[in-house]
Protein backbone atom coordinates (compact mmCIF):
# COMPACT_ATOMS: atom_id res chain seq x y z
CA UNK A 1 0.00 0.00 0.00
CA UNK A 2 3.02 2.29 0.19
CA UNK A 3 2.78 3.12 -3.45
CA UNK A 4 -0.93 3.91 -3.02
CA UNK A 5 -0.02 6.30 -0.20
CA UNK A 6 2.61 8.04 -2.30
CA UNK A 7 0.35 8.25 -5.33
CA UNK A 8 -2.40 9.74 -3.18
CA UNK A 9 0.14 12.27 -1.93
CA UNK A 10 1.46 13.43 -5.28
CA UNK A 11 -1.62 12.69 -7.33
CA UNK A 12 -2.98 16.19 -6.84
CA UNK A 13 0.00 18.17 -8.07
CA UNK A 14 -1.25 21.54 -6.86
CA UNK A 15 -1.79 20.35 -3.29
CA UNK A 16 1.42 18.35 -3.31
CA UNK A 17 3.54 21.25 -4.50
CA UNK A 18 1.77 23.51 -2.03
CA UNK A 19 2.64 21.17 0.81
CA UNK A 20 6.25 20.66 -0.26
CA UNK A 21 6.67 24.38 -0.89
CA UNK A 22 5.28 25.23 2.57
CA UNK A 23 7.79 22.90 4.22
CA UNK A 24 10.63 24.11 1.98
CA UNK A 25 9.75 27.73 2.73
CA UNK A 26 9.61 27.05 6.46
CA UNK A 27 12.96 25.23 6.28
CA UNK A 28 14.57 28.01 4.28
CA UNK A 29 13.33 30.73 6.62
CA UNK A 30 14.41 28.93 9.77
CA UNK A 31 17.83 27.89 8.48
CA UNK A 32 18.41 31.31 6.98
CA UNK A 33 17.44 33.37 10.01
CA UNK A 34 19.00 31.13 12.65
CA UNK A 35 22.25 30.87 10.70
CA UNK A 36 22.49 34.61 10.08
CA UNK A 37 21.78 35.26 13.75
CA UNK A 38 24.32 32.67 14.90
CA UNK A 39 26.94 33.98 12.49
CA UNK A 40 26.42 37.57 13.59
CA UNK A 41 26.76 36.48 17.19
CA UNK A 42 29.91 34.56 16.29
CA UNK A 43 31.35 37.76 14.82
CA UNK A 44 31.42 39.22 18.31
CA UNK A 45 34.24 36.83 19.07
CA UNK A 46 35.67 36.38 15.60
CA UNK A 47 39.02 38.05 16.41
CA UNK A 48 39.42 35.64 19.31
CA UNK A 49 38.91 32.65 17.06
CA UNK A 50 41.35 34.07 14.51
CA UNK A 51 44.12 33.63 17.06
CA UNK A 52 44.85 29.99 16.52
CA UNK A 53 48.29 29.91 18.16
CA UNK A 54 47.10 30.44 21.72
CA UNK A 55 44.43 28.67 23.72
CA UNK A 56 44.17 30.90 26.78
CA UNK A 57 43.41 34.60 27.06
CA UNK A 58 44.39 36.63 30.11
CA UNK A 59 42.77 40.00 30.78
CA UNK A 60 41.73 42.46 33.45
CA UNK A 61 39.37 40.84 35.97
CA UNK A 62 36.54 43.19 34.97
CA UNK A 63 36.76 42.54 31.22
CA UNK A 64 33.48 41.07 29.95
CA UNK A 65 34.05 40.84 26.20
CA UNK A 66 36.66 41.42 23.53
CA UNK A 67 35.80 45.01 22.65
CA UNK A 68 35.85 46.11 26.27
CA UNK A 69 39.42 46.16 27.52
CA UNK A 70 41.29 47.74 30.39
CA UNK A 71 45.01 47.70 29.84
CA UNK A 72 47.15 45.40 31.93
CA UNK A 73 50.51 46.31 33.39
CA UNK A 74 53.61 45.16 31.55
CA UNK A 75 54.61 43.24 34.67
CA UNK A 76 51.46 41.14 34.35
CA UNK A 77 53.01 39.44 31.34
CA UNK A 78 55.97 38.35 33.45
CA UNK A 79 53.65 37.11 36.21
CA UNK A 80 51.66 35.03 33.75
CA UNK A 81 54.82 33.59 32.25
CA UNK A 82 55.78 32.51 35.76
CA UNK A 83 52.67 30.35 36.23
CA UNK A 84 53.34 26.65 36.21
CA UNK A 85 51.97 25.03 33.04
CA UNK A 86 52.41 28.04 30.75
CA UNK A 87 54.16 27.01 27.52
CA UNK A 88 54.54 30.53 26.31
CA UNK A 89 52.74 33.82 26.85
CA UNK A 90 52.90 36.92 24.66
CA UNK A 91 51.20 40.28 24.68
CA UNK A 92 48.41 41.34 22.35
CA UNK A 93 47.21 44.87 21.75
CA UNK A 94 43.79 45.86 20.52
CA UNK A 95 42.95 49.41 19.53
CA UNK A 96 40.60 51.44 17.38
CA UNK A 97 42.55 54.03 15.36
CA UNK A 98 41.15 56.05 12.47
CA UNK A 99 42.86 55.19 9.17
CA UNK A 100 42.99 57.79 6.38
CA UNK A 101 43.95 57.33 2.77
CA UNK A 102 45.85 59.90 0.70
CA UNK A 103 42.58 60.75 -1.04
CA UNK A 104 41.07 61.80 2.27
CA UNK A 105 38.84 58.75 2.73
CA UNK A 106 38.91 57.48 6.31
CA UNK A 107 37.41 54.78 8.47
CA UNK A 108 37.48 53.80 12.12
CA UNK A 109 39.48 50.59 12.24
CA UNK A 110 40.35 47.68 14.39
CA UNK A 111 44.06 47.17 14.96
CA UNK A 112 45.65 44.13 16.55
CA UNK A 113 49.21 44.44 17.77
CA UNK A 114 51.06 41.12 17.61
CA UNK A 115 54.07 40.10 19.63
CA UNK A 116 57.07 41.63 17.82
CA UNK A 117 59.25 38.54 18.03
CA UNK A 118 56.80 35.77 17.23
CA UNK A 119 53.88 37.51 15.46
CA UNK A 120 51.77 35.02 17.44
CA UNK A 121 48.06 35.60 17.05
CA UNK A 122 48.03 36.51 13.37
CA UNK A 123 45.24 35.00 11.27
CA UNK A 124 46.85 32.59 8.87
CA UNK A 125 44.97 33.13 5.61
CA UNK A 126 46.68 35.71 3.41
CA UNK A 127 45.24 36.86 0.07
CA UNK A 128 48.23 38.99 -0.91
CA UNK A 129 51.68 39.56 0.62
CA UNK A 130 53.27 37.88 3.62
CA UNK A 131 53.14 38.08 7.42
CA UNK A 132 56.89 38.26 7.52
CA UNK A 133 56.80 41.73 5.97
CA UNK A 134 55.21 42.94 9.22
CA UNK A 135 58.78 43.09 10.51
CA UNK A 136 59.31 46.11 8.26
CA UNK A 137 58.82 49.46 10.01
CA UNK A 138 55.38 51.13 9.86
CA UNK A 139 53.76 48.19 8.15
CA UNK A 140 50.28 46.72 8.48
CA UNK A 141 48.32 43.82 7.08
CA UNK A 142 44.73 44.81 6.32
CA UNK A 143 41.76 42.58 5.66
CA UNK A 144 40.23 42.54 2.19
CA UNK A 145 36.94 44.15 3.27
CA UNK A 146 38.82 46.97 4.97
CA UNK A 147 40.91 47.53 1.86
CA UNK A 148 37.82 47.68 -0.33
CA UNK A 149 36.22 50.11 2.13
CA UNK A 150 39.21 52.44 2.10
CA UNK A 151 40.07 52.00 -1.60
CA UNK A 152 36.70 51.34 -3.24
CA UNK A 153 36.64 49.94 -6.78
CA UNK A 154 40.42 49.65 -6.84
CA UNK A 155 42.31 46.40 -7.33
CA UNK A 156 44.08 44.80 -4.38
CA UNK A 157 47.61 46.19 -4.36
CA UNK A 158 50.40 46.17 -1.81
CA UNK A 159 52.55 49.08 -0.63
CA UNK A 160 49.72 51.58 -0.56
CA UNK A 161 49.89 53.96 2.39
CA UNK A 162 47.54 54.95 5.17
CA UNK A 163 47.83 57.58 7.86
CA UNK A 164 47.07 56.64 11.45
CA UNK A 165 47.67 58.95 14.39
CA UNK A 166 50.12 61.01 12.31
CA UNK A 167 52.01 57.90 11.27
CA UNK A 168 52.34 56.95 7.64
CA UNK A 169 51.95 53.17 7.40
CA UNK A 170 52.39 50.87 4.45
CA UNK A 171 50.07 47.99 3.57
CA UNK A 172 52.33 44.94 3.25
CA UNK A 173 49.67 42.27 3.11
CA UNK A 174 45.97 41.68 2.57
CA UNK A 175 44.39 39.03 4.76
CA UNK A 176 41.12 37.18 4.96
CA UNK A 177 40.66 37.96 8.64
CA UNK A 178 37.25 37.18 10.10
CA UNK A 179 34.94 40.18 10.01
CA UNK A 180 34.35 41.81 13.40
CA UNK A 181 30.90 42.51 14.74
CA UNK A 182 31.03 46.15 13.64
CA UNK A 183 32.38 45.43 10.13
CA UNK A 184 35.38 47.73 10.62
CA UNK A 185 38.61 47.23 8.67
CA UNK A 186 40.83 44.77 10.57
CA UNK A 187 44.54 45.51 10.61
CA UNK A 188 47.38 43.54 12.09
CA UNK A 189 50.75 44.96 12.93
CA UNK A 190 53.51 44.47 15.48
CA UNK A 191 52.74 45.39 19.09
CA UNK A 192 55.40 48.08 19.20
CA UNK A 193 53.92 49.70 16.09
CA UNK A 194 50.27 49.34 17.07
CA UNK A 195 50.63 51.32 20.28
CA UNK A 196 51.84 54.25 18.21
CA UNK A 197 48.90 54.12 15.81
CA UNK A 198 46.42 54.97 18.55
CA UNK A 199 46.41 57.70 21.15
CA UNK A 200 48.98 57.04 23.84
CA UNK A 201 47.86 55.77 27.21
CA UNK A 202 50.01 55.03 30.21
CA UNK A 203 49.49 51.29 29.82
CA UNK A 204 48.75 49.58 26.53
CA UNK A 205 48.68 45.85 27.13
CA UNK A 206 45.18 44.71 26.14
CA UNK A 207 45.52 40.96 26.43
CA UNK A 208 48.08 38.30 27.11
CA UNK A 209 47.66 35.23 24.95
CA UNK A 210 49.03 32.01 26.33
CA UNK A 211 49.85 28.57 25.03
CA UNK A 212 49.77 25.85 27.72
CA UNK A 213 52.77 23.63 28.20
CA UNK A 214 52.39 20.09 26.85
CA UNK A 215 50.15 18.00 29.09
CA UNK A 216 48.35 20.98 30.64
CA UNK A 217 44.78 21.59 29.55
CA UNK A 218 43.74 25.17 28.75
CA UNK A 219 40.95 24.94 31.32
CA UNK A 220 43.32 23.85 34.04
CA UNK A 221 45.78 26.58 33.08
CA UNK A 222 43.13 29.32 33.33
CA UNK A 223 42.47 28.29 36.90
CA UNK A 224 46.16 28.36 37.73
CA UNK A 225 46.68 31.79 36.15
CA UNK A 226 43.69 33.29 37.95
CA UNK A 227 44.90 31.88 41.24
CA UNK A 228 48.47 33.05 40.78
CA UNK A 229 47.90 36.53 39.29
CA UNK A 230 44.38 37.59 40.20
CA UNK A 231 43.80 38.35 36.52
CA UNK A 232 40.97 36.89 34.50
CA UNK A 233 41.91 33.94 32.30
CA UNK A 234 39.59 32.31 29.78
CA UNK A 235 40.03 29.61 27.19
CA UNK A 236 39.48 30.71 23.60
CA UNK A 237 36.06 29.04 23.52
CA UNK A 238 35.04 30.51 26.87
CA UNK A 239 36.08 33.99 25.82
CA UNK A 240 34.18 33.68 22.53
CA UNK A 241 31.06 32.70 24.48
CA UNK A 242 31.62 35.58 26.92
CA UNK A 243 31.38 37.94 23.94
CA UNK A 244 28.31 36.22 22.52
CA UNK A 245 26.59 36.26 25.90
CA UNK A 246 27.43 39.94 26.40
CA UNK A 247 25.80 40.90 23.11
CA UNK A 248 22.84 38.63 23.73
CA UNK A 249 22.31 40.23 27.11
CA UNK A 250 23.06 43.86 26.32
CA UNK A 251 21.81 44.49 22.79
CA UNK A 252 18.45 44.29 21.01
CA UNK A 253 19.81 41.87 18.42
CA UNK A 254 18.47 38.67 19.98
CA UNK A 255 15.03 40.22 20.44
CA UNK A 256 14.86 41.39 16.82
CA UNK A 257 16.15 38.13 15.44
CA UNK A 258 14.12 36.18 17.95
CA UNK A 259 10.95 37.82 16.68
CA UNK A 260 11.89 37.05 13.08
CA UNK A 261 12.81 33.47 13.90
CA UNK A 262 9.67 33.07 16.00
CA UNK A 263 7.48 34.40 13.20
CA UNK A 264 9.26 32.16 10.70
CA UNK A 265 8.77 29.20 13.01
CA UNK A 266 5.12 29.87 13.71
CA UNK A 267 4.13 30.86 10.18
CA UNK A 268 6.21 28.15 8.53
CA UNK A 269 5.15 25.36 10.82
CA UNK A 270 1.50 26.38 10.94
CA UNK A 271 1.33 26.68 7.16
CA UNK A 272 3.16 23.39 6.61
CA UNK A 273 1.24 21.53 9.31
CA UNK A 274 -2.11 22.91 8.28
CA UNK A 275 -1.49 22.17 4.61
CA UNK A 276 -0.76 18.55 5.38
CA UNK A 277 -3.72 18.27 7.73
CA UNK A 278 -6.03 19.79 5.11
CA UNK A 279 -4.58 17.38 2.57
CA UNK A 280 -5.70 14.50 4.79
CA UNK A 281 -9.10 16.08 5.40
CA UNK A 282 -9.58 16.52 1.66
CA UNK A 283 -8.81 12.84 1.21
CA UNK A 284 -11.05 11.60 4.02
CA UNK A 285 -13.50 10.11 1.55
CA UNK A 286 -10.69 8.10 0.01
CA UNK A 287 -9.47 6.95 3.40
CA UNK A 288 -13.06 6.04 4.26
CA UNK A 289 -13.32 3.93 1.11
CA UNK A 290 -10.06 2.19 2.00
CA UNK A 291 -11.36 1.50 5.52
CA UNK A 292 -14.59 0.06 4.12
CA UNK A 293 -12.66 -2.12 1.68
CA UNK A 294 -10.71 -3.58 4.59
CA UNK A 295 -7.52 -1.60 5.00
CA UNK A 296 -6.60 -1.77 8.68
CA UNK A 297 -6.09 1.25 10.90
CA UNK A 298 -2.47 0.23 11.35
CA UNK A 299 -1.95 0.25 7.60
CA UNK A 300 -3.69 3.61 7.24
CA UNK A 301 -1.49 5.02 10.01
CA UNK A 302 1.57 3.79 8.14
CA UNK A 303 0.29 5.36 4.92
CA UNK A 304 -0.21 8.76 6.57
CA UNK A 305 3.19 8.62 8.25
CA UNK A 306 4.79 7.74 4.93
CA UNK A 307 3.01 10.63 3.22
CA UNK A 308 3.99 13.10 5.93
CA UNK A 309 7.59 11.95 6.18
CA UNK A 310 8.17 11.88 2.43
CA UNK A 311 6.64 15.35 1.96
CA UNK A 312 8.61 16.55 4.99
CA UNK A 313 11.88 15.05 3.75
CA UNK A 314 11.46 16.49 0.25
CA UNK A 315 10.45 19.92 1.53
CA UNK A 316 13.32 19.93 4.01
CA UNK A 317 15.81 18.92 1.31
CA UNK A 318 14.60 21.64 -1.05
CA UNK A 319 14.58 24.25 1.73
CA UNK A 320 18.07 23.27 2.84
CA UNK A 321 19.26 23.37 -0.77
CA UNK A 322 17.83 26.87 -1.15
CA UNK A 323 19.41 27.99 2.12
CA UNK A 324 22.77 26.49 1.12
CA UNK A 325 22.59 28.27 -2.24
CA UNK A 326 21.73 31.53 -0.48
CA UNK A 327 24.71 31.24 1.85
CA UNK A 328 26.99 30.19 -1.00
CA UNK A 329 26.12 33.45 -2.77
CA UNK A 330 26.42 35.48 0.45
CA UNK A 331 29.79 33.91 1.18
CA UNK A 332 31.23 35.65 -1.86
CA UNK A 333 29.95 39.09 -0.88
CA UNK A 334 32.41 41.07 1.23
CA UNK A 335 29.80 42.42 3.60
CA UNK A 336 28.47 38.95 4.39
CA UNK A 337 31.70 37.00 4.09
CA UNK A 338 32.21 34.14 6.52
CA UNK A 339 28.46 33.91 7.10
CA UNK A 340 27.74 30.26 6.47
CA UNK A 341 24.88 27.81 6.86
CA UNK A 342 25.68 26.28 10.23
CA UNK A 343 25.09 22.56 10.68
CA UNK A 344 23.64 23.24 14.11
CA UNK A 345 20.97 25.43 12.51
CA UNK A 346 20.23 22.71 9.96
CA UNK A 347 19.87 20.27 12.86
CA UNK A 348 17.55 22.58 14.81
CA UNK A 349 15.45 23.19 11.71
CA UNK A 350 15.30 19.45 11.01
CA UNK A 351 14.00 18.94 14.54
CA UNK A 352 11.36 21.65 14.00
CA UNK A 353 10.24 20.13 10.70
CA UNK A 354 10.15 16.69 12.29
CA UNK A 355 8.00 18.11 15.07
CA UNK A 356 5.63 19.68 12.52
CA UNK A 357 5.45 16.44 10.56
CA UNK A 358 4.71 14.47 13.73
CA UNK A 359 2.03 16.90 14.94
CA UNK A 360 0.38 17.09 11.51
CA UNK A 361 0.56 13.29 11.21
CA UNK A 362 -0.94 12.72 14.64
CA UNK A 363 -3.83 15.10 13.92
CA UNK A 364 -4.36 13.51 10.51
CA UNK A 365 -4.12 9.98 11.85
CA UNK A 366 -6.59 10.79 14.61
CA UNK A 367 -9.00 12.20 12.04
CA UNK A 368 -8.75 9.07 9.91
CA UNK A 369 -8.92 6.63 12.81
CA UNK A 370 -12.14 8.13 14.18
CA UNK A 371 -13.65 8.18 10.70
CA UNK A 372 -16.58 5.79 10.44
CA UNK A 373 -16.15 3.82 7.22
CA UNK A 374 -19.93 4.00 6.85
CA UNK A 375 -19.49 7.73 6.16
CA UNK A 376 -18.35 6.79 2.70
CA UNK A 377 -21.95 5.80 1.89
CA UNK A 378 -23.24 9.24 2.72
CA UNK A 379 -23.59 10.66 -0.81
Amino acid sequence: MNFVALRMLNGDRAKYFGLVFAIAFCTFLLENQTSIFANIMRRTGSQILDVTDAEVWVMDPKTEYFDQTKALKDTDLTRVRGVNGVGWAVRLFKGNPVARTSSGRFAASFIIGLDDATLAGAPRKMLLGSWERLREPDSVVIDQAGYVLLFPKEPLRLDRTLEMNDHLVRIVGISDASPPFQSLPVMHTRYSEAVNFVGKERTQLSFIIVRPAPGVSPKELTARIEKATGLRARTTKEFEWDCIRYYLKNTGIPVNFGITIGVALVVGTVVAGQTFYLFTVDNLKQFGALKAIGVTNLRLTGMILLQASSAGALGFAIGTGLAASFFEVMLHKLATRHIVLMWQCVGITAACILFVVIVASVLSIRRVLVLEPAAVFQG
Binding site: M1, F3, V4, R7, M8, L9, N10, G11, D12, K285, Q286, G288, A289, L290, K291, A292, I293, G294, V295, T296, N297, R299, E372, P373, A374, V376, F377, Q378, G379
Partner: protein
Protein backbone atom coordinates in the same frame (compact mmCIF):
# COMPACT_ATOMS: atom_id res chain seq x y z
CA UNK B 1 -28.65 -19.21 11.88
CA UNK B 2 -28.22 -19.05 8.10
CA UNK B 3 -29.22 -21.90 5.88
CA UNK B 4 -26.67 -23.05 3.32
CA UNK B 5 -28.30 -20.94 0.63
CA UNK B 6 -28.37 -17.81 2.69
CA UNK B 7 -25.42 -15.43 2.83
CA UNK B 8 -27.08 -12.90 5.11
CA UNK B 9 -29.89 -13.24 7.56
CA UNK B 10 -31.29 -10.43 9.70
CA UNK B 11 -33.97 -10.92 12.29
CA UNK B 12 -35.58 -8.04 14.14
CA UNK B 13 -32.51 -5.87 13.54
CA UNK B 14 -32.73 -2.39 15.01
CA UNK B 15 -30.43 0.56 14.75
CA UNK B 16 -30.82 3.91 16.39
CA UNK B 17 -28.67 7.00 16.59
CA UNK B 18 -28.53 9.24 19.66
CA UNK B 19 -30.54 8.96 22.85
CA UNK B 20 -33.47 10.68 24.48
CA UNK B 21 -35.01 13.55 22.55
CA UNK B 22 -32.40 13.29 19.81
CA UNK B 23 -32.88 9.55 19.27
CA UNK B 24 -33.48 8.55 15.68
CA UNK B 25 -34.60 5.01 14.90
CA UNK B 26 -33.10 4.16 11.53
CA UNK B 27 -34.02 0.46 11.60
CA UNK B 28 -37.08 -0.72 13.53
CA UNK B 29 -36.90 -4.49 13.53
CA UNK B 30 -35.76 -5.57 10.10
CA UNK B 31 -36.13 -9.12 8.84
CA UNK B 32 -34.11 -9.62 5.71
CA UNK B 33 -32.14 -12.34 4.00
CA UNK B 34 -29.90 -12.49 0.94
CA UNK B 35 -29.26 -15.76 -0.84
CA UNK B 36 -26.20 -16.94 -2.70
CA UNK B 37 -26.51 -16.75 -6.47
CA UNK B 38 -29.02 -13.93 -6.29
CA UNK B 39 -29.26 -10.21 -6.77
CA UNK B 40 -31.19 -8.98 -3.76
CA UNK B 41 -32.53 -5.46 -4.03
CA UNK B 42 -33.27 -3.21 -1.09
CA UNK B 43 -35.60 -0.49 -2.31
CA UNK B 44 -37.59 2.31 -0.79
CA UNK B 45 -37.78 6.07 -0.43
CA UNK B 46 -34.88 8.18 0.71
CA UNK B 47 -34.27 7.99 4.45
CA UNK B 48 -36.11 4.70 4.88
CA UNK B 49 -33.00 2.95 6.23
CA UNK B 50 -31.71 1.10 3.16
CA UNK B 51 -28.14 2.32 3.38
CA UNK B 52 -28.09 1.92 7.17
CA UNK B 53 -29.15 -1.71 6.76
CA UNK B 54 -26.46 -2.18 4.11
CA UNK B 55 -23.81 -0.74 6.45
CA UNK B 56 -24.99 -2.97 9.31
CA UNK B 57 -24.82 -6.04 7.06
CA UNK B 58 -21.34 -5.03 5.85
CA UNK B 59 -20.10 -4.61 9.42
CA UNK B 60 -19.51 -0.90 8.94
CA UNK B 61 -22.09 0.00 11.60
CA UNK B 62 -23.01 -1.82 14.79
CA UNK B 63 -26.66 -2.71 15.12
CA UNK B 64 -28.55 -1.71 18.25
CA UNK B 65 -30.53 -4.95 18.54
CA UNK B 66 -31.71 -8.12 16.83
CA UNK B 67 -29.81 -10.97 15.22
CA UNK B 68 -27.53 -10.74 12.25
CA UNK B 69 -25.60 -13.54 10.63
CA UNK B 70 -23.28 -12.92 7.70
CA UNK B 71 -21.72 -15.99 6.02
CA UNK B 72 -22.50 -17.92 9.18
CA UNK B 73 -20.63 -15.44 11.38
CA UNK B 74 -22.15 -13.23 14.02
CA UNK B 75 -20.14 -10.08 13.51
CA UNK B 76 -20.53 -9.15 17.17
CA UNK B 77 -18.24 -12.05 18.02
CA UNK B 78 -15.41 -10.54 15.99
CA UNK B 79 -12.93 -8.00 17.29
CA UNK B 80 -12.58 -4.75 15.36
CA UNK B 81 -9.49 -5.94 13.54
CA UNK B 82 -11.08 -9.32 12.76
CA UNK B 83 -14.11 -7.52 11.43
CA UNK B 84 -11.85 -5.50 9.10
CA UNK B 85 -10.22 -8.71 7.92
CA UNK B 86 -13.65 -10.29 7.48
CA UNK B 87 -14.71 -7.37 5.29
CA UNK B 88 -11.49 -7.50 3.32
CA UNK B 89 -11.85 -11.21 2.59
CA UNK B 90 -15.57 -11.55 2.09
CA UNK B 91 -17.08 -8.29 0.98
CA UNK B 92 -16.90 -6.17 -2.13
CA UNK B 93 -18.23 -2.64 -2.23
CA UNK B 94 -19.73 -0.54 -5.01
CA UNK B 95 -20.47 3.01 -3.97
CA UNK B 96 -22.86 5.55 -5.40
CA UNK B 97 -20.05 8.04 -6.07
CA UNK B 98 -17.61 5.29 -7.17
CA UNK B 99 -15.00 6.43 -4.62
CA UNK B 100 -12.11 5.57 -6.88
CA UNK B 101 -8.75 6.99 -5.82
CA UNK B 102 -8.20 9.84 -8.31
CA UNK B 103 -4.42 9.47 -8.25
CA UNK B 104 -4.51 5.82 -9.32
CA UNK B 105 -5.17 4.40 -12.77
CA UNK B 106 -8.13 2.11 -13.34
CA UNK B 107 -5.95 -0.98 -12.95
CA UNK B 108 -4.34 0.34 -9.80
CA UNK B 109 -7.73 1.18 -8.31
CA UNK B 110 -8.98 -2.30 -9.04
CA UNK B 111 -5.84 -3.77 -7.47
CA UNK B 112 -6.32 -1.96 -4.13
CA UNK B 113 -8.19 -4.80 -2.32
CA UNK B 114 -5.42 -7.20 -3.37
CA UNK B 115 -2.70 -4.81 -2.23
CA UNK B 116 -4.51 -4.43 1.08
CA UNK B 117 -4.26 -8.20 1.39
CA UNK B 118 -0.49 -8.02 0.80
CA UNK B 119 -0.60 -9.58 -2.64
CA UNK B 120 2.53 -8.52 -4.57
CA UNK B 121 1.97 -5.41 -6.65
CA UNK B 122 2.77 -6.99 -10.01
CA UNK B 123 0.47 -9.93 -9.46
CA UNK B 124 -2.28 -7.63 -8.21
CA UNK B 125 -1.98 -5.37 -11.24
CA UNK B 126 -1.95 -8.32 -13.65
CA UNK B 127 -5.13 -9.69 -12.11
CA UNK B 128 -6.73 -6.25 -12.16
CA UNK B 129 -5.89 -5.75 -15.83
CA UNK B 130 -7.37 -9.11 -16.82
CA UNK B 131 -10.57 -8.37 -14.94
CA UNK B 132 -10.86 -4.95 -16.58
CA UNK B 133 -10.41 -6.63 -19.98
CA UNK B 134 -13.17 -9.08 -19.06
CA UNK B 135 -15.43 -6.16 -18.20
CA UNK B 136 -14.73 -4.50 -21.54
CA UNK B 137 -12.42 -1.80 -20.22
CA UNK B 138 -9.23 -2.90 -21.97
CA UNK B 139 -8.71 0.61 -23.39
CA UNK B 140 -9.10 2.21 -19.96
CA UNK B 141 -6.63 0.11 -17.98
CA UNK B 142 -4.14 2.97 -17.66
CA UNK B 143 -6.68 5.79 -17.50
CA UNK B 144 -7.23 7.93 -14.45
CA UNK B 145 -10.77 8.31 -13.08
CA UNK B 146 -10.90 11.95 -14.17
CA UNK B 147 -10.49 10.82 -17.77
CA UNK B 148 -13.35 8.33 -17.61
CA UNK B 149 -17.11 8.71 -17.93
CA UNK B 150 -19.38 7.94 -14.97
CA UNK B 151 -20.34 4.59 -16.46
CA UNK B 152 -16.73 3.62 -16.97
CA UNK B 153 -15.86 4.67 -13.43
CA UNK B 154 -18.68 2.59 -12.04
CA UNK B 155 -17.49 -0.41 -14.05
CA UNK B 156 -14.01 0.09 -12.61
CA UNK B 157 -15.59 0.28 -9.15
CA UNK B 158 -17.43 -2.95 -9.91
CA UNK B 159 -14.15 -4.58 -10.93
CA UNK B 160 -12.63 -3.38 -7.64
CA UNK B 161 -15.52 -4.97 -5.77
CA UNK B 162 -15.02 -8.30 -7.54
CA UNK B 163 -11.23 -8.58 -7.86
CA UNK B 164 -10.71 -10.44 -4.60
CA UNK B 165 -13.66 -12.76 -5.30
CA UNK B 166 -15.75 -11.81 -2.29
CA UNK B 167 -18.73 -13.91 -1.22
CA UNK B 168 -20.92 -10.86 -0.78
CA UNK B 169 -21.04 -7.75 -2.92
CA UNK B 170 -22.86 -4.73 -1.55
CA UNK B 171 -23.83 -1.94 -3.91
CA UNK B 172 -25.16 1.41 -2.76
CA UNK B 173 -27.21 3.13 -5.45
CA UNK B 174 -24.85 1.99 -8.22
CA UNK B 175 -26.90 3.64 -10.95
CA UNK B 176 -27.94 6.82 -9.15
CA UNK B 177 -25.27 8.98 -10.74
CA UNK B 178 -25.76 7.50 -14.22
CA UNK B 179 -28.23 8.06 -17.04
CA UNK B 180 -30.66 5.26 -17.76
CA UNK B 181 -28.75 3.62 -20.60
CA UNK B 182 -25.46 3.67 -18.72
CA UNK B 183 -27.12 2.50 -15.53
CA UNK B 184 -28.73 -0.36 -17.39
CA UNK B 185 -25.35 -1.33 -18.87
CA UNK B 186 -23.76 -1.30 -15.42
CA UNK B 187 -26.57 -3.43 -14.00
CA UNK B 188 -26.18 -5.86 -16.92
CA UNK B 189 -22.53 -6.13 -16.09
CA UNK B 190 -23.28 -6.60 -12.41
CA UNK B 191 -25.86 -9.29 -13.12
CA UNK B 192 -23.63 -11.16 -15.52
CA UNK B 193 -20.33 -10.91 -13.64
CA UNK B 194 -21.08 -10.47 -9.98
CA UNK B 195 -23.80 -13.04 -9.56
CA UNK B 196 -22.22 -16.43 -8.86
CA UNK B 197 -23.59 -19.52 -7.17
CA UNK B 198 -21.40 -18.88 -4.15
CA UNK B 199 -21.88 -15.14 -4.01
CA UNK B 200 -24.71 -12.92 -2.86
CA UNK B 201 -25.17 -9.47 -4.30
CA UNK B 202 -27.14 -6.89 -2.35
CA UNK B 203 -28.11 -3.73 -4.17
CA UNK B 204 -29.60 -0.66 -2.53
CA UNK B 205 -31.45 1.40 -5.08
CA UNK B 206 -34.50 3.47 -5.68
CA UNK B 207 -34.06 3.32 -9.44
CA UNK B 208 -37.16 1.34 -10.45
CA UNK B 209 -35.90 1.05 -14.05
CA UNK B 210 -33.39 -1.57 -13.00
CA UNK B 211 -35.70 -3.64 -10.77
CA UNK B 212 -36.09 -6.29 -13.50
CA UNK B 213 -32.55 -7.50 -12.75
CA UNK B 214 -33.50 -8.46 -9.19
CA UNK B 215 -34.09 -11.98 -7.94
CA UNK B 216 -35.75 -10.54 -4.88
CA UNK B 217 -36.84 -7.05 -3.95
CA UNK B 218 -37.21 -6.04 -0.33
CA UNK B 219 -39.17 -2.85 -0.03
CA UNK B 220 -38.37 -0.70 3.00
CA UNK B 221 -40.26 2.11 4.59
CA UNK B 222 -39.63 3.93 7.86
CA UNK B 223 -36.92 1.53 8.99
CA UNK B 224 -38.86 -1.67 8.27
CA UNK B 225 -39.13 -4.17 5.43
CA UNK B 226 -42.73 -3.83 4.33
CA UNK B 227 -42.75 -6.48 1.62
CA UNK B 228 -40.51 -8.82 -0.27
CA UNK B 229 -41.33 -9.75 -3.85
CA UNK B 230 -39.68 -12.20 -6.16
CA UNK B 231 -39.79 -12.18 -9.99
CA UNK B 232 -41.85 -15.40 -9.97
CA UNK B 233 -44.60 -13.32 -8.42
CA UNK B 234 -44.37 -14.67 -4.89
CA UNK B 235 -45.00 -12.07 -2.25
CA UNK B 236 -43.84 -12.10 1.31
CA UNK B 237 -45.88 -9.84 3.55
CA UNK B 238 -44.26 -7.72 6.17
CA UNK B 239 -43.42 -9.45 9.42
CA UNK B 240 -43.09 -12.86 7.83
CA UNK B 241 -39.63 -14.40 7.76
CA UNK B 242 -38.88 -14.99 4.12
CA UNK B 243 -36.32 -17.66 4.96
CA UNK B 244 -39.07 -19.78 6.53
CA UNK B 245 -41.12 -19.51 3.36
CA UNK B 246 -38.09 -20.37 1.27
CA UNK B 247 -37.43 -23.35 3.47
CA UNK B 248 -41.03 -24.50 3.02
CA UNK B 249 -40.71 -23.98 -0.75
CA UNK B 250 -37.60 -26.11 -0.80
CA UNK B 251 -39.32 -28.90 1.18
Amino acid sequence: MTTNSQAVQCHDVTKHYGEGDTRIDALRGVDFSARFGELSFLVGPSGCGKTTLLCVIAGLLDRSGGDLTVLGETLDDLSDSDRVLFRRRNLGFVFQQYNLLPALTAAENVAVPLLAADIPRKEALDRAKSLLVRLGLEKRVASFPSKMSGGQQQRVALARALIHEPRIVVCDEPTAALDHATGEAVMELLASNAVQPDRAVIVVTHDSRVFHHAHSIARMDDGRIVEVTRPNGSFVPAGVDESELLHKEAV
